[in-house]
């Protein structure tokens, strides 16, 4: 799970840390990728990696639907637009029962198969997930360090000046949004293969807020921050378990702790634990 959230946080960081767009619909892309890949895997007509690839491409196309109309917006207005998109996707996943099986979810997803390697033990899946994080982290790191990433940071600092230097600000935003959505879809496909069951509740607003929290707590604008955030926020429940907190109150306590942690970090380390950009 940590690997999956690391990919989600790293990809959202491209929007939050590089362009300065706090998106609240990352779980929607996560879900769309998971559902497309799952539905294709269940047809038994194509290999797993092709299902994942189509899931990614489908999600990227969907990302254009939100990015074209909403990327003109900034700050609070963009947050509200992304929230609207998140709600629409969740409603579709929840209510389009003929395709998604709605609240019942889709069970019996077969183990992913890469050529002749069937990933049916947790250790094999862990290895596969680590490879996926490594690949995603490397690609996103290269993007962040490249001239492409530099322009994204310039857009974050001053859109007007960036455009006056001949950069098509809107196109850069649309591409960054598509890249982030594509990686979220990739994480979704891995998630579905891991749990072998998906339902819409895994892709709701709470999940989007959680992914955003990871980026903000860990720190935005570099690769290390989201990784630190993932470790911290996903290990917290395990720490609670280790401390012998009763299971009945652990979920609520986790929420309280998250909130407290975010408040403390935002107060004393507003750029996050390892980030280089202070989201404003």
């Amino acid at each position: 799970m940590m690997a999956i959230y690391a990919i989600l946080a790293l990809s959202l960081n491209l929007l939050v840390g590089y362009i300065g767009l706090p998106s609240l619909c990352h779980a929607a892309f996560f879900g769309v990728g998971a559902y497309i890949a799952t539905l294709l895997v269940l047809t038994n007509t194509m290999p797993f990696f092709l299902c994942v690839l189509i899931g990614i491409l489908g999600t990227v196309v969907l990302s254009f639907l939100i990015s074209f109309p909403s990327l003109r917006l900034r700050g609070d207005h963009f947050v509200l637009a992304s929230l609207g998109f998140q709600t629409i996707v969740f409603s579709v996943l929840y209510n389009w029962i003929e395709v998604t099986q709605g609240p019942f979810g889709i069970a019996g997803i077969p183990s992913p198969r890469l050529l002749n390697w069937v990933l049916d033990t947790p250790w094999e899946y862990l290895l596969f997930s680590l490879m996926a994080v490594l690949l995603s982290g490397m690609l996103l790191y290269w993007l962040g360090q490249s001239p492409f990433g530099r322009v994204l940071k310039a857009i974050r600092e001053d859109e007007l000046s960036t455009a006056a230097l001949g950069k098509n600000v809107r196109l850069f935003k649309v591409i960054a949004f598509a890249v982030a959505a594509g990686f979220a879809a990739f994480a979704g496909a891995i998630f579905a293969g891991y749990l072998r069951y998906i339902d819409p509740t895994s892709f709701g607003l709470t999940e989007s807020v959680f992914i955003l929290s990871i980026v903000i707590v860990g720190g935005a604008g570099n690769t290390l921050g989201p990784l630190v955030g993932t470790f911290l926020l996903l290990l917290l429940p395990e720490v609670l378990r280790f401390l012998g907190v009763p299971e009945s109150i652990a979920p609520n306590l986790r929420l309280v702790l998250y909130s407290l942690l975010i408040i403390i970090i935002m107060r004393y380390k507003p750029q996050g634990l390892a980030g280089e950009y202070q989201y404003q």
């Binding site: 490249s146 001239p147 492409f148 940071k153 230097l165 098509n168 850069f172 591409i175």
Partner: protein, 251 residues
Amino acid sequence: MSRLLLHRVTKRFGGVSAVNSVSLEFVEGKIAALIGPNGAGKTTVFNLIGGQLNLTHGQIFYDDVEISNKLPWQIANLGVGRIFQDGRVFQKLSVLDNMMVAFPKQKGENALWSLFARGIVRRQEKVLNQRAYWLLETFGLLNSTHRLAAELSYGEQKLLAIARLMASQPKVLLLDEPTAGVTPRTAEKILRILRQEADAGKTIVVIEHNMNVVSQCADVVHFMESGRVSLSGQPNVILDRSYVKQAYLGM
């Protein structure tokens, strides 16, 4: 030769005409100054040329190509660059990154190139890096290369904004108060560089409030008042008019 031509350009905000039927011609190799009291419409003219505002009426031509109402990035890519009154450097980027962003036609700005043709991108970066260092040296910012732009003084930020504009390789430079708030020594340096650029064939238009600067650097002066160009001519002729002194300097 005329490089930038404004033909009866008008900009209205509601019922107010910020720019009213302005026709101007800016030629290559010359420095033109737009002067006038606050609210005369000088910055609005820059915003209309740069595409930051849309025209209400009129036409703007760059090298005989109409650029009226094109998008700012399209106008910049054609060769019309500008700096804003407050410089607007990228505060949380290093001085070097501020420069590197500005270079046009970078292969690595394409996400696919930056992922799958890293060698080619790296080679181009190396060349651009050298150019950036050379420009920073010219502008006296070499010692600040790796500092954040936010850590520079106001004058240094102005210099960085102009250096960054040079890196974008424009043929027309629109400079909104390039010497405001800088030390006399820095102002002198800026004016020397602008003259060199004009001599190299660039078209330079400055908005300037400092009459000494105008008389030192401008080849031609356009006096604006209430959204109109009321006088145009050589600096010594325009600046000597009692009308200008009264309207502009309150003398």
